[in-house]
């Protein structure tokens, strides 16, 4: 009985320690395969090769992560960190146990049952706490940091793991005399703790860095916007100049009652000047009413992208928008996704229409995005599910992410409708408004 139970519990411990800190724990079949692998290793190997089964477990874990392909680097770093923390807990419990008279343990020896259970519980608890504190999904930041930092983090983790594993193997060979155990325990805990603190500081620095990068992008967009405004101003100036000339010429023909010349002048000169004035650059001037700079920058960037796709764009912001009752970062994220979708869908049609309107009312600020689109093969609400997309071979995460954000905001409403044009509506209600009975027939 115990020959089965102990490996089962050991594999549970290994599974928790390697996957506890992962941003996304393995699902279904992968989970089963990992547990099975750990079970087999714990059952078969310790008797034959002893503590070398530790590196085998680590290698097996890395192979499983490699098979998952997604976020390999992040997963390796987080799972090995989990392993290090488990070793630290192991030492924390081993030392008092040793004082109490229990024999020495290895990570893969024959543990007494209670010790194993206590370790599983403690590890699980620690990881739950850590997940709350650090919000492990943010570890995906590692991907966004420069290559050199990624390699440094990976190297640090690998070195730590190698050092600790070698330490365990040789300490065990020496029989774990008491003094070594105690000193080992203290040193390793110290080492692991300092590594954890180091990584936490690195995480904070990376986040700040990422925020700076975003700020820089926003700054660049606004600078570009300013340049366009200045060139528009120049166009306006030239136009006024022409306009004055035209008026005085017209006056001359009128004073001399020269109708034919007047007609000729009108037909040639004036219609030409009229043509100068239309064009997408004037649209950009309308961004003046969007007083929220982050959104102004975002809309500007998307308008330029739309122009590059030769879309027929219309932009309406009739009244100034100064305040929105929603976190601007979340709003930027949502609008970015909606606009990217609209631009991409529209550019693959013949009509290539794109219409963006920001409508301010007493109750709400509404962002309306309409685009021409080809036939949509699936029902609209399914577009918001993970993995569903009108594009082939695409992840389909955009609208899913939007829904994730809006589902937790009671004053933000996202709707879609399809017809001759595909319409997306984002309504952000003003907070201190009480609503009348909303439904009627």
């Amino acid at each position: 009985m115990t020959s089965i139970l102990l490996p089962v519990l050991t594999s549970a411990l290994l599974y928790i320690s390697f996957t506890g800190l992962l941003p996304e724990s393995p699902k279904g079949r992968n989970r089963l395969l990992m547990c099975l692998g750990f079970f087999l290793i714990s059952r078969l190997l310790p008797e034959r090769i002893g503590y070398l089964s530790i590196p085998v477990n680590i290698a097996f874990n890395v192979i499983c992560l490699l098979a998952q392909k997604k976020n390999f680097l992040t997963n390796v770093v987080m799972s090995l960190s989990g392993f290090l923390l488990t070793v630290m807990i192991n030492y924390i419990f081993t030392i008092p146990m040793k004082y109490l008279g229990y024999s020495a343990f290895t990570l893969h020896g024959k543990y007494p049952l209670p010790f194993l259970l206590v370790q599983i519980a403690a590890t699980f608890l620690l990881f739950c706490i850590l997940r709350r504190l650090v919000r492990v999904s943010r570890s995906a930041l590692i991907i966004k940091s420069p290559r050199s930092i990624q390699l440094l983090v990976l190297a640090e983790i690998l070195i730590s793991v190698i050092v600790i594993t070698v330490n365990i193997i040789y300490s065990e060979k020496a029989g774990y005399p008491m003094e070594i155990l105690t000193y080992n325990g203290i040193l390793i805990s110290f080492f692991v703790l300092s590594t954890v603190i180091l990584f936490y500081c690195l995480y904070r620095i990376l986040r700040k860095d990422y925020d700076l990068v975003l700020k820089q992008q926003e700054q660049d967009a606004l600078n570009d916007y300013l340049l366009r405004m200045e060139s528009l101003y120049e166009d306006m100036r030239l136009f006024r100049h022409d306009y004055m000339n035209i008026l005085s010429t017209l006056r001359y023909y009128i004073e001399n009652n020269d109708m034919p010349a007047l007609k000729n002048y009108y037909d040639t000169k004036i219609t030409d000047t009229g043509k100068q004035l239309s064009g997408n650059d004037f649209l950009i001037g309308r961004l003046g009413n969007m007083k929220i700079t982050e959104i102004k920058g975002l809309l500007f960037t998307k308008l330029i992208a739309a122009q590059n796709q030769s879309l027929q764009i219309s932009l309406e912001i009739r009244e100034p928008v100064c305040e929105i009752c929603m976190d601007i970062v979340k709003l930027s994220r949502i609008l970015g996704i909606l606009l990217d979708n609209a631009i991409e869908a529209s550019s693959s049609t013949l009509d290539k229409q794109l219409c963006i309107a920001v409508i301010t009312g007493e109750e709400a600020v509404v962002f309306l995005i309409e685009n021409s689109c080809n036939e949509i093969p699936i029902p609209l609400s399914l577009l918001m599910e993970k993995g569903k997309s009108t594009k082939l071979c695409h992840e389909g995460l955009g609208l899913y992410n939007v829904k994730q954000i809006t589902d937790h905001l009671p004053n933000v409403f996202f709707s879609m409708s399809s017809g001759s044009l595909f319409r997306q509506t984002l309504e952000i209600r003003k907070e201190n408004h009480s609503y009348d009975f909303p439904v009627s027939m």
Partner: protein, 247 residues
């Protein structure tokens, strides 16, 4: 038969538009019972107060150079007459049709500095004529307030309503739309008819649009492929009502 009201600060435009409107109406065999023009919005509002009018057509300039803008004028008219037709007259620069449509349910627009004024007016009046002819067959529809405006969904297009727990919102699934509104299932149930049944704590389904029922998974498959969950408790009742409706 329509009454036509125009409001523009420039009399030249009023004359021009009236003439073109009469011409277009003649071409469409549409009778204009009265045609009034105003240069000031207040005059139009005063007239309307004394002579309320249903089924009228308003051609309003956006920039009236007065205290009341074209849009404000339209919103006052719309408030008094939920069923009239509002058209905006404006220059290319000032045009913001989506905003007008959203705020005052504007029907159409005419662009002053475009060459084809005649065609535009013709198109607008034809649009109105078509709408007037089809309103007779108006079916039951749900009119829900959504962000300062209303959305209208015919009942037969509704598939099911879903509650979003975390934020107390309602998601309406219909044939052509997927709209979030602020309402509760209870409020909605009162306004819907018997072909709608609350099959789950968080869902009301349109029984007429269920294609098949999956017994083991307790799922209702709608005719467009969407899936609506059904609770264990209410499953039997849902099936019963569905079958009853089939007859």
């Amino acid at each position: 038969m329509i009454s036509l009201f125009l409001c523009d600060d420039e009399p030249v435009w009023l004359d021009r538009l009236s003439a073109l409107a009469e011409e277009a109406a003649f071409g469409l065999a549409l009778e204009i019972t009265q045609l009034k023009t105003y240069t000031r919005p207040q005059q139009l509002l005063d007239h309307l107060r004394e002579h309320p009018c249903s089924c009228c057509v308003y051609l309003l300039d956006v920039d009236l150079k007065s205290q009341i803008s074209g849009l404000e004028l339209a919103s006052q008219i719309r408030f008094a007459n939920p069923r009239c037709f509002i058209l905006f007259v404006t220059t290319h620069e000032e045009m913001a049709f989506k905003t007008f449509e959203y705020k005052v349910e504007a029907l159409d627009y005419i662009i002053k500095d475009s060459g084809s004024l005649k065609e535009q007016i013709y198109r607008c009046l034809k649009h109105i004529q078509d709408l007037m002819l089809s309103t007779g067959a108006a079916s039951n529809a749900l009119r829900i307030r959504s962000g300062g405006s209303y959305i209208l969904i015919p009942l037969e297009e509704l598939l099911f309503l879903e509650t979003i727990k975390a934020s107390h919102k309602l998601l309406i699934h219909s044939s052509r739309e997927c709209a979030e509104v602020s309402a509760s299932l209870m409020e909605m149930q009162e306004k819907l008819n018997d072909s709608f049944f609350q099959c789950h704590k968080a869902y009301i389904v349109n029984l007429k649009r269920i294609k098949e029922i999956r017994r083991t998974e307790k799922l209702l498959v709608m005719d467009n492929g969407e899936l609506c969950p059904c609770s264990f408790r209410l499953f039997a009742e849902t099936c019963r009502r569905f079958l009853a409706l089939q007859k």
